[in-house]
Amino acid sequence: MIDAFASWMLQFGALSWLGTTPATILAMSLVAVAIFIFVALNALVLVYVERKVSAFMQVRLGPMRVGPMGTLQTVADALKLLLKEDIIPRFADPILFRVGPWIILLASFVAFAAVPFSPGWVPADMSIGLFYVVSISSVVVIGIVMSGWASNNKWSLYGAMRSAAQIVSYEIPVGLSLLAAVAVVGTLNLQEIIAAQAGVGNLFHWIPIPFPNWYIFHSPFLFLAGCIYLIAATAEVNRTPFDIPESESELVAGFMTEYSGIRWALFFLSEYANAAVVALLTAIVFLGGWQSPFADLAGARFGMISLTVLALIWTIFVKYKVKRLSIYPIGTILALTVIAWLFPAFAIWLATPGLVWIAIKGGVVIFLLMWFRWTFPRLRVDQLMYLSWKVLLPIALINLAGVAVWMWLTGAISLVG
């Protein structure tokens, strides 16, 4: 993508005096800046959404004062954080205290380098993209330990050590569950992983219900792998119910106890960037990335109709269950279906892979993470380790073997070389 972008820039008269190398450097910088803006905006939006989601789940309204429906609340908070006094404790280590948040932010920021946003739109199309993203995410733990250590505060240190133990433990289920998908597709390149999930096929290969060829519908084992990945990845980005590194009821705020102002904002940025990476990776590996759930024009129309039927059933169910009729979901989907039937262009657009699909899928996963966060209570440290080593790890291992058996049964691989 970088090279294509650079040659595209060189087409223009005003930029043609640039050589190939400066144009490449410029393209790299622009892409990096764009990703950084994405990370910042992502945090702003996600903080607002998270507040609203948490408020609704706790029967509140959330921020309502700043801006319409409180939309500018996070902007106000960001400004407040930027203007706050920058405090460094007297007995903290001055260098490591400053460096730590930057390492965390950097680690979660460079993970985006391999994430494909759209066909051809990937900052660096590397052959080991999946492995790269997983490995870069593990650098975060060094930053956490560094900040926790440098703060010279026992709560920070406890939080950092818990975080390190947690991230290192949960890397194994993450790796094994991703490996299940990699075993099916046979490549680590994220673009190829997505490209292999194109089209519509049978659910679990044999049940004759048309489902997208996403890996979560590929086999029961990969479905299980997706669930394991989501759980383990939630733990790896330190989100509730696995937020024991910063559990405010036990450790004040864990490794970020001593931080304030801009450095604390960096922690926040990286937290939501990590959540976005996990959501995008789930969408890419298990939900088909930028692939549309509909194969073509007919598929789009058929898909919209089945969605309408599903929404109708859901509406009737809701009416029966809670004695209240909500017409908005069914109305929206019905309108979309009618548009898709009347205007083939819209249906074709629906069937076209692109940015909007990965955004929708990532958004769904992020909402799932928020749902987990505001539903489940925090685990204890020993329960956390129990879950990782005694539940997720054996299940992921057996699951991996199950994927191989499934591939053999469906004829994807044969035992005779």
Binding site: T21, T24, I25, F91, A92, D93, I95, L96, V99, I103, M126, S127, I128, F131, Y132, V134, S135, I136, S138, V139, V141, I142, V145, M146, W149, A150, S151, N152, L157, M161, A164, I167, V168, E171, L188, N189
Partner: protein, 163 residues
Amino acid sequence: MSEVIFWVIWVLVVISAMIVAYSKNLIYSVFSLLATFVGVAAIYIFLNADFIAVTQIVIYVGGILVLLIFGIMLTNRIAVAKINQSSFQTSLGMVVVGAVFVILVITILGQSWPVLAESMDFDSTVGKIGTLLFGDYLILFEVASILLLGALIGAATLARKEL
């Protein structure tokens, strides 16, 4: 441009390794080891070894470095953020290591290495490594896994309070 980046990383690796070797503060040593590992990973990328580079990051940075930090934290009474470490035989060590380094450099520069002319640009080493690992080197792979299992059990047994 790649040339410049390469030498920057080269110098970075050397400086951070020197901090590891010479720093009085153990914490600075272990955290500059992070820079060394990441720099070496970048060097691997210059050597077209993408898989090794990422393995380096995931195992050295995500695993071994965390283990080392845990080792430091568990074996010190932490009242201040700074942990001093002492060295001994520094001058003698300097002499020996200097001699070793000089011998190595003389060997490296004095040798005419059988470098092949055409440059090797793999697209990806992953497939080849996988084929070899599960083909010719399968026994080695299994032995390695048994070794890792043994190390895991051994470390867990040793680290228990009641031995």
